[in-house]
């Protein structure tokens, strides 16, 4: 049972497309595409959003991700109609990156608050204002496990491998960075733009540090099954 995701867009095609992309990385997560008006036009529909929330609610909570301003307003209105339940939230996140990050977090069994945070921080690794995870913030008294491993698959750390790593690491009790980025965030890993031949420097601390480094080494060395 994972957190369910509702994608609200002004366009039915856009909502379906985002679900298609995110769904590839999160096979157990329930998605609802709530795009367009009731009659198929451009806009958003309270009915579609409320139906979507109901359809993906399995008891683990629902995160709603929206595109432009009035989609956010429709989503918030839906919550008001439902009496502002605790287990439904609207993410303040970009539609595509937010949904993908949320999907991966949900797939790895994270709770609603963490799935929401994943969506809301999904852009943090992009652009010049990027804030790579600060390895010095790891507690100084914990032993870290490190490894260097070279990407050998032709496409490097693209979306699917990034989701594999973030998803796998997300299930472990570990603080892990890969080339300075949070290894449990699919968007951060994709933001590395690491191509074939790039050496990934993995630093892990915590109870599952050994396991985490072993997992990354194994996946990367196997070329993520793409060879």
């Amino acid at each position: 049972m994972t957190v369910g995701l509702v994608v609200v867009s002004h366009s039915a095609k856009l909502a379906e497309g985002v679900v298609e992309v995110a769904g590839q990385m999160a096979k157990d997560v329930r998605f609802a595409a709530a795009g367009g008006t009731d009659d198929g036009g451009i806009g958003t529909s309270l009915d579609k959003v409320m139906t979507g929330i109901e359809a993906v609610q399995t008891g683990a909570g629902v995160l709603v991700v929206c595109d432009l301003g009035s989609a956010v307003m429709t989503a918030e209105s839906a919550l008001e109609f439902l009496g502002n339940p605790d287990d439904v939230r609207v993410a303040d996140a970009p539609l595509v990156e937010g949904t993908v990050a949320a999907a991966v977090a949900a797939q790895s069994g994270r709770g609603l608050a963490q799935v929401c945070t994943a969506a809301e921080q999904s852009l943090a690794g992009h652009g010049s204002a990027s804030a790579p995870a600060d390895s010095s913030s790891a507690p100084a008294n914990t032993e870290s496990v490190t490894a260097d491993v070279e990407l050998i698959n032709p496409l490097g750390l693209h979306a699917r491998p990034a989701a594999t790593l973030a998803g796998g690491l997300g299930k472990l009790d570990v603080d892990v960075t890969i080339n300075g980025m949070d290894g449990q965030s699919v968007m951060m890993l994709m933001a590395l733009g690491a191509g074939k031949g790039t050496v990934l420097h993995v630093v892990a601390t915590g109870a599952d540090a050994e396991k985490a480094v072993g997992f990354v080494t194994q996946e990367v060395s196997a070329g993520f099954g793409e060879l």
């Binding site: 008006t37 309270l46 009915d47 009035s70 307003m73 209105s77």
Partner: protein, 222 residues
């Protein structure tokens, strides 16, 4: 003319029907205002919403003012599509909550209802006064309604005061630079045009006042 001390469900239903008529009549004008500073669909969107409201009122007329306002809220949120859907939807929803199960709306309750609607718009759209939005029609309307109630006015007078203030408020959006919604992307170029949301708000409040005035007159004749 005898002034009514309260307005009932029949007034609400007639107001909503008149709102649909007025929106249909001003559809092109509202969309033209929206074309100048937005995406040009405000009139069509609102007309689609109110046409759906009309169909639902015909199918099964709500029994109380609160039910009627809630029906409008649901319908506009589902049918309008643009930002006006959740904004007006929230306004009518909060108005419905404010009147609750009351069957006869007196002047103070009407003012409370209008205030709740305005507060809903602000909560949903997060607009401040002078952002060039619906709020710029609603806030003067709410203030005028409250002043009118304080002066001991009847419901018809309260609504007339609110409508006049909303119309003035809508006119006063012309020189403003938009800070919310699609028009805010235009920056300084949004100045010089009336905000379409403020314009439609004034129409809806005028419909409320005219309905009360006409309804009061008809009642008095009987």
């Amino acid at each position: 003319m005898a002034e009514l001390n309260t307005l009932n469900n029949e007034w609400v239903l007639t107001w909503l029907r008149r709102s649909a008529e007025v929106v249909a009549r001003h559809k092109s004008e509202l969309s033209e205002l929206d074309r100048l500073i937005g995406d040009g669909d405000h009139g069509e969107n609102l007309d689609r919403g109110f046409s759906a409201v009309l169909a639902k009122l015909d199918a099964e007329p709500p029994a109380t003012p609160g039910d009627a306002l809630k029906l409008v809220a649901m319908t506009l949120m589902s049918k309008v599509g643009g930002a006006a859907g959740p904004l007006y939807g929230t306004a009518y929803l909060r108005a419905a909550t404010a009147v609750g199960g009351t069957l006869e709306l007196d002047a103070p309750l009407l003012a409370v209802m209008l205030t709740a609607a305005r507060d809903g718009l602000v909560a949903r759209g997060k607009a401040e006064p002078r952002d060039k939005t619906m709020v710029d029609a609603w806030t003067p309307a709410v203030d005028a309604a409250a002043a009118s109630v304080a002066a001991g006015a009847h419901p018809t007078e309260v609504l007339a005061a609110a409508a006049a203030a909303a119309e003035q408020g809508a006119e006063d959006t012309i020189p403003l630079v938009a800070h919310k919604g699609r028009a805010s992307y235009l920056g300084e170029r949004s100045a010089g045009h009336k905000d379409p949301g403020a314009a439609s708000s004034a129409l809806l409040l005028r419909a409320a006042a005219d309905t009360a005035a006409g309804y009061g007159a008809e009642e008095a004749q009987q």
